[in-house]
Amino acid sequence: MTGKHHPHKHRHTIAVLVDNEPGVLARVIGLFSGRGYNIESLTVAEVAARENLSRITIVTSGTAQIVEQIKAQLSRLVPVHKVVDLTKDGPAVERELALVKVVGIGEKRVESLRIADIFRARTVDATNESFVFEIVGRSDKIDAFINLMEPLGLVDVSRTGVVAIARGTQPL
């Protein structure tokens, strides 16, 4: 390697407002896979039924130049109304929800409850030997929770992926 330059990669959360029409998600995902961009998380749901708009939240990472490319490429898609880089354009709130199933009895069961309490996770289902916890927070908090549950009988995880919104008065 002759002094190859490796510029820094950063994690960015990008919000994309799109027409809620067939194929729009395929366009976005195809763009990422076709151009070799990274998707860490992607969520999508309709947010304005009257205007028929959906909001996609994508967490990606790349150098500043790549992230600019990603935004420019997204904006180029015909059904895309708006692309906002929540990470770059100011403070934003990010949340993710996870459902976490833990199976066990005795001491482990008690310990899992104790930790759930510390993390403000809710118990949404229980049997004599299992719990399903619901936890909401930043992705790193959920990661930490899952890591702690691992030795306590973690058997299943379902995560929503990140949703995010800018702090303050401004809409997207």
């Binding site: 194929g23 395929a26 904006s75 015909v78």
Partner: protein, 587 residues
């Protein structure tokens, strides 16, 4: 309002195409599009050109679009019809060519059932179109057609596919006119930011070693941009270069033209790009064929980039003054700002820059050793150019060495007279593209400069030429090789010519005759002029099979992965400059 309901899908489609001003559609029928063909049969406003392969329909529409500036139109059937069109769609995408391609589809009730001749056309074409639509409701049809034309021709132009299930073509529905269609999310930015334009103008005025670098975007933008580009050249006195796609955007006969830039560009253009202090990139996209090794690309310059597509900016090369907008609009503002602020170029510095450039020019980098025995390919193009230039021909090419020699040795003083596959480099592009241009300009001389191998990729279109009485002239530089491949093997793979020689080729003269055209073979330099004149003067399509010196390579050449100042100038340089390992993996 029941009278609004009495059109079927196929009628609505034709009405919308007519309202869009479509005069010609290139197509090929099949089961899924029979209702549309039935409608075409019943009218005589829309001319249908029946090609012999769907790929050729798309390239023909490209030739039509690029030579006229209008949107090309294609009609193919479902399944194999649409998959055959894919190469052409990607070609149009990479070369920013406006087109609407109508594809048949199985009835909506059968979609997803692996029905006969079903293909997921919108899925397959998503990455090779600017946008695509599947119309499931006949009442959306007219709107979608109008929207498709709007998307195809505005902003950065490109191909748009409309997939049309058969039942939608027979269902009855409402027509809506052009005026009612407005797009909510797709709004290209045409006006450039004035502050940036002012910044660019002052940077240009302060330049000591400037260069203008024009690309296909100038031609895409339209006649106003083409005129303004020449005005800018005149106003500044700056040297200028053009990409392969930009040839003709400013007349090649302009003395400030340094020739083409890039891998097979001229010595002076590439060294001027390398050594300049201000580069103004206008409607070009810093393609790898232009930049060579990006880390060594024009290392000491401030770069201004005018492009309508924000994703073209800072993609390959970081620039200092990005201006998002249409070339025509931005140049108009730029020239106005220049005059209003009474800006002047640095005459003294510019003079000295021109002296440096003239030094590079004196190397005469396109010089080649001519021969009395063998026809040199460069000589063949020179003669073709000299003998046809008064007729102002439209020149199409296939892909390979002959394409590069055409770019180097034919000179383009008019935009839209040069039709070549730049971004995708599609062998088989030239003949159908020439055909499309000839449809648009029936009385013009249209020449396809071809390789003996590329021409065989869409040779079946000879029959279309005959049927439509299109007098396309096919000028084959026949070196019996996949010449461009052979050149790379010579330079990069120790002369091991794996599968780049073809022992068997058709007799092109007989082939021409088999298709009802005329042909001639020529292998002596002394007979070349007469052969070219015969080709031009014989009515109808013609194949001139020019047997050339097979050992010739295209020079100058910047090997893949090398920098602009590491150019190979000719056979003498080959031995001394083995390509880098980094270069070996590049295309």
């Amino acid at each position: 309002m029941s009278h609004d309901h009495d059109l079927n899908g196929a009628e609505i489609l034709l009405k919308a195409l007519t309202e869009q001003g479509v005069e010609v559609v290139f197509g090929y029928p099949g089961g899924a599009v029979l209702p549309i063909y039935d409608e075409i049969f019943k009218q005589n406003r829309l001319r249908h050109i029946l090609v012999r392969h769907e790929q050729a329909a798309v390239h023909a529409a490209e030739g039509y679009a690029r030579s006229t500036g209008k949107v090309g139109c294609v009609l193919v059937t479902s399944g194999p019809g649409s998959t055959n069109a894919v190469t052409g769609l990607l070609d149009a995408m990479l070369d920013s060519t406006p087109m609407v391609c109508l594809t048949g589809q199985v009835p909506t009730s059968l979609i997803g059932n692996d029905a006969f001749q079903e293909a997921d056309t919108t899925g397959i074409t998503r990455p090779c179109t600017k946008h695509n639509y599947l119309v499931k409701d006949v009442n959306d049809l007219a709107r979608v057609v109008h929207e498709a034309f709007y998307v195809a021709k505005t902003g950065r132009p490109g191909p748009v596919v409309i997939d049309l299930p058969k039942d939608v073509m027979t269902a009855k529905g409402k027509y809506v006119g052009i005026g009612k269609v407005r797009h909510k999310s797709y709004i290209p930015k045409v006006k450039g930011d004035l502050e940036r334009i002012e910044e660019a103008a002052s940077l240009m005025a302060s330049a000591k070693k400037p260069i203008l670098y024009f690309g296909g975007g100038v031609i895409n933008s339209g006649n106003a941009a083409i005129d303004l580009a020449s005005k800018l050249v005149k106003l500044t006195g700056f040297p200028f270069t053009q990409t392969l796609m930009g040839l003709g955007s400013v007349p090649a006969s302009n003395p400030q033209f340094l020739g083409m830039v890039g891998m097979h560009g001229t010595y002076e253009a590439n060294l001027a790009m390398h050594g300049c202090d201000v580069m103004v990139c206008i409607g070009a996209r810093f393609d790898d064929r232009v930049t060579g090794k990006t880390s060594a690309f024009s290392p000491h310059s401030k770069k201004i980039h005018i492009d309508i597509d924000p994703s073209s900016i800072n993609k390959n090369i970081m620039v200092d003054v990005p201006i998002v907008g249409d070339v025509g609009h931005v140049l108009e503002d730029m020239i106005r700002v220049w005059k209003a602020k009474q800006l002047h170029v640095d005459e003294k510095a510019l003079k000295s820059w021109w002296r440096t450039i003239d030094g590079w020019r004196s190397k005469d980098c396109l010089r080649y050793a001519n021969s009395k025995k063998l026809i040199k390919p460069q000589y063949a193009i020179e003669r073709l150019y000299e003998l046809t230039k008064d007729r102002d021909p439209i020149i199409a090419t296939e892909v390979g060495q002959h394409q590069m020699w055409a770019a180097q040795f034919a000179k383009f003083d008019v935009a839209r007279h040069w039709l070549t596959s730049g971004g995708l480099g599609t062998m088989g592009f030239g003949l159908p593209a020439a055909m499309g241009a000839q449809v648009a300009f029936p009385d013009k001389l249209v020449v396809n400069i071809a390789g003996e191998s590329s021409i065989q990729m869409n040779i079946q279109e000879m029959a279309t030429l005959a049927q439509e009485r299109l007098a396309v002239k096919i000028f084959i530089l026949n070196n019996q090789y996949l010449g461009m491949v052979r050149q790379w093997q010579e330079l990069l793979h120790g002369g091991r010519y794996a599968e780049s020689h073809m022992d068997v080729h058709p007799d092109f003269v007989k082939l021409a005759e088999a298709y009802g055209a005329k042909g001639r073979r020529v292998d002596k330099p002394a007979e070349l002029d007469a052969a070219i004149m015969e080709m031009i003067e014989t009515p109808g399509a013609f194949i001139l099979d020019v047997r050339t010196d097979a050992s010739e390579n295209v020079f100058p050449m910047i090997p893949a992965g090398a920098a602009h100042n590491e150019m190979l100038m000719g056979p003498e340089d080959e031995a001394e400059n083995p390509s880098s390992e980094d270069g070996m993996v590049l295309v």
